[in-house]
């Protein structure tokens, strides 16, 4: 039952994903591309934040570095797009490998602050490296296809693949030894050390994987939007959004990034569409309400709703 249900759900999702580009306007496709991007970012954060329990605010740093890595490589050499995207991802992963061992020694707030500040430092550095990055003038990355409809669908496909890959990577990690190690670290890091786990090694690996995914996402984003500037791609809120998404989905599950990102996007879009100049305030209130009333995210809601109480096999009904 559980298995067929899951497969059915997966199949339905696949149908919707494939049908979308053939049936929808460019704007809806753009929205769906954003949804996929959010899923990828949330899944990237989940590796370090969810599994290892390290409150990382480095997503913006990885994203921005990926965007600029790809942007600079592509605008200077004009090589293949895919190669540019990989360069962006690798740049972010290398950065994570470099910085990770230093800041992953910190815990709790200290780590949160250090990771948050890396984005600020990178932004300023890229802003002042005018020769390479264009500085505050931004970087233009003209699209390589002139057909608008095709372009929208191409990026939709790439972003969806990226999201699937990111979630898949999460599943693989959680099943491998590293997943076990990360869970140990999440529950009690000192005990993990006693168990003989090389915690720094696994944490750094998780951080680098998180960086790789967010970096590639940033790189794809850069070529998709066609224009990046330091304030946009290193924005603080880029670090906060994935966290909120995972919290919406429910911390500690593999599906949280998907469910959370989709819910967040719907919410954001609804609020923003209907309220012209107070949408940020309403979004803020929603975040507060979520954390206060639903600390476990939708996972909790799902078990609390009336129809959820009936167990699938029609066994005992909890009251």
């Amino acid at each position: 039952m559980k298995r067929t249900g899951g497969l059915l759900l997966l199949g339905l999702c696949a149908v919707v994903l494939v049908a979308l580009p053939f049936t929808s306007s460019n704007y809806i496709i753009r929205l769906a591309t954003f949804a996929a991007m959010y899923v990828a970012l949330a899944a990237s954060w989940n590796v370090i934040g969810g599994m290892a329990g390290y409150p990382s605010f480095a997503t913006a740093a990885f994203f921005g570095l990926g965007a600029y890595g790809a942007g600079v490589v592509l605008s200077k050499t004009g090589t293949f797009l895919v190669l540019g995207w990989l360069c962006g991802g690798v740049a972010a992963a290398l950065f994570a490998l470099l910085v990770g061992p230093a800041i992953l020694r910190l815990r709790g707030h200290y780590f949160a602050v250090a990771s948050l500040v890396t984005a600020v430092v990178l932004r300023e550095i890229i802003n002042s490296a005018t020769n390479l990055t264009g500085g505050g003038m931004g970087l233009n990355l003209p699209p390589r296809i002139s057909d608008v409809d095709l372009l929208a669908r191409q990026y939709y496909a790439v972003m969806v693949l990226l999201a699937v890959g990111a979630v898949g990577a999460g599943v693989l990690v959680s099943r491998a030894k590293i997943g076990w190690a990360l869970r140990c670290i999440e529950q009690n890091e000192d005990a993990a050390v006693v168990l003989g786990i090389d915690t720094l090694y696994y944490k750094t690996a998780a951080f680098a994987l998180s960086g790789l995914i967010a970096g590639i996402t940033g790189a794809v984003y850069a070529t998709w939007i066609g224009y990046i500037d330091p304030t946009d791609v290193f924005e603080d809120i880029l670090s906060v959004k994935p966290i909120v998404m995972v919290l919406i989905g429910g911390l500690g599950t593999l599906y949280a990034p998907v469910v959370g990102a989709l819910c967040f996007l719907l919410l954001e879009e609804l609020v923003w569409r209907n309220i012209l100049s107070f949408h940020a305030g309403v979004l803020g209130l929603l975040i507060v309400a979520l954390l206060v009333f639903l600390p476990g995210g939708l996972k909790d809601l799902a078990t609390r709703l009336p129809w959820a109480r009936r167990s699938p096999a029609g066994e005992a009904v909890r009251s």
Binding site: P55, R105, L106, V121, L247, G284
Partner: protein, 294 residues
């Protein structure tokens, strides 16, 4: 002489920075909550001072205690009604929660006060002290309003120090800071203490806002910049150490001033944030190297 002037600039700037960071450090230390809302509280205090001056003619310095009281009430309410509910949740939750509150408060201020930049223009202006008028050999200029802010910052920190040391509520706060579980076993109502501490943090922010209303342009958009400074100062001065914010503030002010002078104004921000990361890694207890409880 240029270097001396830059040193003076830095110390005076540091005084203002210290006033911004005091409450933030207290809340972080006692509640173990990074209060992202702090920058917005500073801005709110500045707006209150602005309207008090332009509408009622109350001098911003006289308004400092009023701003502190008003924000104390707001802070107390916010903590008691909202933040207390997540006080035992992981770091992530309280951080994200206060981030949500900031989105809300900043947006409210944007709609209520409009985006126009404002500033208190003291009439008559406080002016400057040209040291060379008294000591011809020393060509240094000191703006009086910054000097006053510095004095107020020191006064505020001293007041807080006294409060924590000499009053029963202060000692309860310190007790909770040291060990919240032991304190609650001793009969301290931690919920109340948390709310009062958060209120004091907000009061300090409000006071800082009033102090800087004649110095910086006031706008809802400024909150993140103030918050960023508070972060760095807390790390520099040692987390949760109230006296440490004076050291941290002045250190940051001097560092930024010389950073801008030596590397160019473009890089002074980068420099201070890089230093923050390095300190976190190599000396997380701050420049003084003590884990302060007060």
């Amino acid at each position: 002489m240029l270097a001396l002037q830059i040193l003076v600039n830095g110390i005076l700037l540091g005084g203002i920075y210290a006033s911004i960071a005091g409450g933030f450090s207290l809340v972080w230390g006692v509640l173990n909550v990074i209060n992202i809302l702090h920058g917005s509280f500073v801005v709110l205090g500045a707006y209150m001072a602005f309207f008090a001056y332009t509408l009622l003619g109350i001098h911003p310095y006289l308004f400092v205690p009023i701003a502190a009281l008003l924000l104390f009430a707001i802070g107390l309410a916010v903590q008691y009604a909202i933040v207390n509910r997540v006080i035992d949740a992981p770091v992530l939750v309280s951080l994200t929660l206060t981030f949500g509150l900031t989105l809300f408060l900043d947006n409210v201020m944007l709609n209520a006060f409009k985006a126009d930049f404002r500033k208190v223009n003291l009439r008559p202006p406080l002016g400057i002290i040209d040291v060379s008028d008294y000591l011809p050999a020393i060509d240094i200029i000191v703006p009086v309003d910054r000097l006053a802010s510095m004095a107020f910052a020191i006064l505020l920190v001293a007041l807080l120090y006294w409060l924590l040391r000499r009053t029963s509520i202060g000692r309860a706060i310190v007790a909770v800071r040291m060990d919240r579980y032991a304190a609650s076993l001793m009969g301290v109502d931690t919920r109340i203490i948390f709310a009062v501490t958060f209120g004091i943090g907000a009061a300090m922010a409000g006071a800082a806002g009033a102090l800087l209303s004649p110095i910086f342009p006031i706008s809802p958009l400024a909150s993140t910049a103030y918050l960023g400074k508070a972060f760095v100062i807390c790390i520099l001065g040692g987390l949760g150490s109230v006296t440490g914010v004076l050291v941290g503030g002045v250190a940051l002010g001097v560092l930024e001033s010389f950073g801008a002078y030596i590397f160019g104004p473009e890089h002074s921000l980068t420099l201070s944030f890089t230093l923050l990361i390095l300190l976190l890694i190599f000396r997380p207890t701050g420049l003084l190297g003590k884990r302060g409880f007060i």
